[in-house]
């Protein structure tokens, strides 16, 4: 399998809010020798329903994801949270279903979070000819960290980006308070958590915040902007792919000519 066929699980947030992460993922996967396809009949991994305890809808969404990605060698998502859903929770959803259980398990075994896939499965050790001048800090999103063991991989690749200095974020492993529907259901608690997080980010003096999950990034970037901070936020894949010409998360588009 020297050129594996990878199905990109775009994730609903990247599809809707930040396509550049999807393009970055495709570019990185292609650099890692993969042949990438993007099935059009994908929507979301079903986490909002799953986390709300709605197993019926979770199952039917999961079935459509399984169908759409059945034929790929790997399924890769630029999100630890969505990859974790496919890997850790789909098998659970169908554990009593003799028809779907093997299909869910099969999908789960081939599903990976983007950066850990590049490093652990494709053996990527560096990004070549990519530079980005920044004092960066990195937040470990919870699902990627605890469900999938994503910790060293992004740091390893970021260390090879020219001009980028990575300062460790104190409490990098503490949840930012996003939690999917949590931030809508308990806005006040979520606010305290994200405010604690942005205080830590600001204290590092970083001008760039990186993470591997757009949900967390939108939460932290939204709070930083509300606080009037100039720290920018980007998905780690954008920096690794060198796709940083566009605006950072929550920043305006640059007027033409500037």
């Amino acid at each position: 399998m020297d050129q594996p066929r990878v199905g990109l699980f775009v994730t609903c947030l990247v599809d809707l809010f930040r396509p550049v992460i999807g393009f970055s993922a495709v570019a990185l996967l292609e650099r890692a020798g993969c042949q990438v396809e993007v099935p059009t009949d994908q929507t979301c991994c079903g986490q909002p329903a799953y986390n709300a305890g709605d197993l019926k809808n979770s199952r039917s969404i999961a079935q459509s994801v399984i169908r759409a990605f059945e034929d790929f060698d790997y399924i890769v998502a630029p999100s630890g949270s969505c990859a974790g859903m496919l890997r850790a929770h789909y098998p659970d959803l169908f554990k009593d279903d003799p028809e779907w259980s093997p299909r869910a398990n099969h999908l789960a075994q081939r599903t990976h979070e983007l950066i850990s896939f590049l490093v652990d499965i494709r053996g990527m050790a560096s990004v070549e000819n990519v530079g980005f001048e920044a004092q960066a800090t990195y937040h470990d999103s919870c699902s990627g960290l605890r469900e999938l063991g994503v910790k060293a991989q992004p740091r390893r690749l970021l260390a090879t980006v020219e001009g980028l200095d990575l300062n460790e974020l104190p409490g990098a492993e503490t949840c930012c308070g996003f939690g999917g529907t949590f931030c809508i259901k308990y806005p006040d608690i979520s606010n305290r958590m994200v405010a604690d997080k942005t205080a830590d980010i600001t204290a590092t003096g970083a001008d760039l915040l990186l993470a591997g999950d757009l949900g967390c990034l939108m939460n932290m970037a939204g709070k930083l902007k509300r606080e009037g901070s100039t720290t920018q936020a980007r998905h780690v894949a954008e920096v690794l792919a060198g796709m940083t010409e566009g605006p950072a998360i929550g920043e305006p588009e640059k007027a033409p000519g500037t």
Partner: protein, 478 residues
């Protein structure tokens, strides 16, 4: 106690506005987390011990009837008495009956969450007795008529100033100008006052960290030594414990003790670990004349064999709350019942009912930190998820949330329609937001934009842009 968990949202909001509480919680987090990390780093077999502890407790729970009756037999052999209580009321009655039989007036108490659970203090007061908490934290909240806000540090929500004020209000016999600004001052003052009470107590009540089936012993773990005085000085010692505290052997207690204090306070061992086996024997230098164990079920046996069974492995170390960012934001009182934090969110719906407690398992981001630190490897988020499933089945979540979710799921299952809707919505939002790059306010997103901006989408979804990209590549690549 009467649960207040249905008021979680309101109480959480109040807690978030309490600057003193925020300060106390921040101090707590830093202290407990750093200490735990440091002690665990010194014990390479810590992870193996967690597995052992989990396995031995699973084994016990699978054979709980056997070990409980074995425990009863041993206690009886040693001259003690076991009292079975299905409900809090039965447990309270059992305690009262013992107190009445020796004509007790004053009862000293060691720290015990189960006696909080059954509302023992109020009941004893109503029955004409005087219960006195002897653990410093419990003593403080007893004076303040509050509930514990943490299972190992009941007064963690208070600052030094709060405690000084409480002492000045209550200990009016002392010099009003005395110094009260160090923890040591509080300890000294409480000790001096409690010493007289220990002497006059007729009955001492403690909880138990373990009930050892092999020997009929009960075990308590403390740092202040108050538990020992509570159970040794009075004529009668009553242990109140719940069924899941049982473990098979003395050896097993050693396994769990090695993870308990490390997870709780970051100590290698607590200062005092006290084993009590039966009443004083002829020739013993001290010990009570009577030894009673009241064993409470209160809904726990109904959890056996369910997805929530794993909660019964809990050894109440508090590590999950010490590391929980939600608990760290709102503190323990917001949870509205004796056991707060992640273990409360996983256990309370089973004990006080889902209708009362359904907010608790929802108030979690599923970040997984609790399960990562739990010495008994309880899959806390998984159990919270189980309660959400039950909540959904029982239609207990807010109707607006359910409707929104149902509508979203309807689209998510129909990729084509979803795409049409997404393209339209994103097209509009993208145009509206392009100039600022974010929204400070947006209809239907009030929960989000109340506290933070919403980053605007770019022009067009990824799928739209990808399709365009593919089309533009098509001629050259063919």
């Amino acid at each position: 106690m009467k649960p207040q968990s249905h008021l979680f949202k309101e109480n959480a909001k109040k807690a978030l506005n309490d600057a003193n509480l925020a300060r106390a919680l921040n101090n707590m987090k830093a202290g407990f987390q750093d200490k735990r990390r440091a002690t665990i780093a010194k014990l390479p077999e810590f992870q193996d011990l967690r597995d052992q502890a989990r396995d031995l407790k699973n084994h016990t729970l699978e054979n709980l009837d056997f070990y409980l009756s074995r425990f009863e037999d041993r206690v009886t052999e040693k001259g003690g008495h076991v009292h079975w209580a299905r409900t809090p009321a039965e447990a309270r009655e059992a305690v009262l009956e013992i107190c009445r039989s020796v004509d007790a007036k004053t009862v000293t108490k060691g720290k015990s969450m189960v006696t909080e659970e059954i509302g023992l203090n109020d009941f004893l007061i109503e029955s004409g007795l005087t219960p006195i908490e002897t653990d410093l934290g419990e003593y403080i909240i007893q004076l303040r008529h509050e509930l514990p806000s943490h299972i190992i540090a009941p007064a963690i929500h208070l600052n030094k100033e709060d405690v000084a004020e409480t002492f000045r209000e209550n200990h009016t016999q002392l010099d009003p100008n005395r110094r009260l600004d160090q923890v040591q001052d509080f300890t000294d003052e409480a000790r001096a006052i409690l010493r007289q009470k220990f002497q006059s107590a007729d009955v001492g009540i403690t909880g138990a960290n373990f009930l050892i089936a092999e020997t009929g012993s009960t075990v308590i773990v403390t740092n202040e030594g108050n538990g020992d005085l509570t159970q040794v000085l009075p004529k009668v010692h009553i242990v109140v414990a719940s069924i899941e505290k049982t473990i098979p052997t003395l050896e097993d207690s050693a396994t769990i003790l090695r993870v308990l204090a490390r997870s709780a306070t970051g100590q290698e061992y607590s200062t005092y670990t006290t084993f009590s086996t039966g009443p004083r024997r002829p020739g013993d230098l001290d010990g009570p004349e009577q030894f009673h164990v009241v064993i409470l079920d209160n809904g726990r046996s109904a959890l056996l064999g369910t997805e929530a069974q794993d909660t019964l492995r809990c050894i109440r170390c508090g590590a999950c709350m010490n590391h929980c960012p939600v608990y760290g934001s709102v503190g323990g009182h917001a949870y509205g019942w004796v056991v707060p934090g992640p273990i409360g969110a996983a256990l309370d719906p089973g004990l006080i009912g889902l209708e009362e407690a359904h907010d608790l398992p929802n108030a979690s981001t599923f970040c997984g930190k609790c399960a990562e630190v739990c010495p008994m490897k309880i899959p806390l988020p998984k159990i919270m998820h189980h309660w959400r499933v039950k909540e959904h089945e029982a239609k207990l979540s807010p109707p607006r949330f359910r409707q929104g979710l149902a509508m979203w799921a309807w689209f998510a299952r129909r990729p084509r329609l979803y795409r049409l809707g997404a393209n339209a919505a994103i097209g509009m939002l993208g145009r509206l937001g392009a100039k600022r790059g974010r929204f400070a306010k947006l209809p239907l997103a009030g929960g989000w934009t109340a506290h933070r901006d919403l980053p605007a989408p770019s022009r067009g979804t990824f799928q739209q842009q990808w399709a365009r990209h593919k089309r533009s590549q098509a001629p050259s690549s063919s």
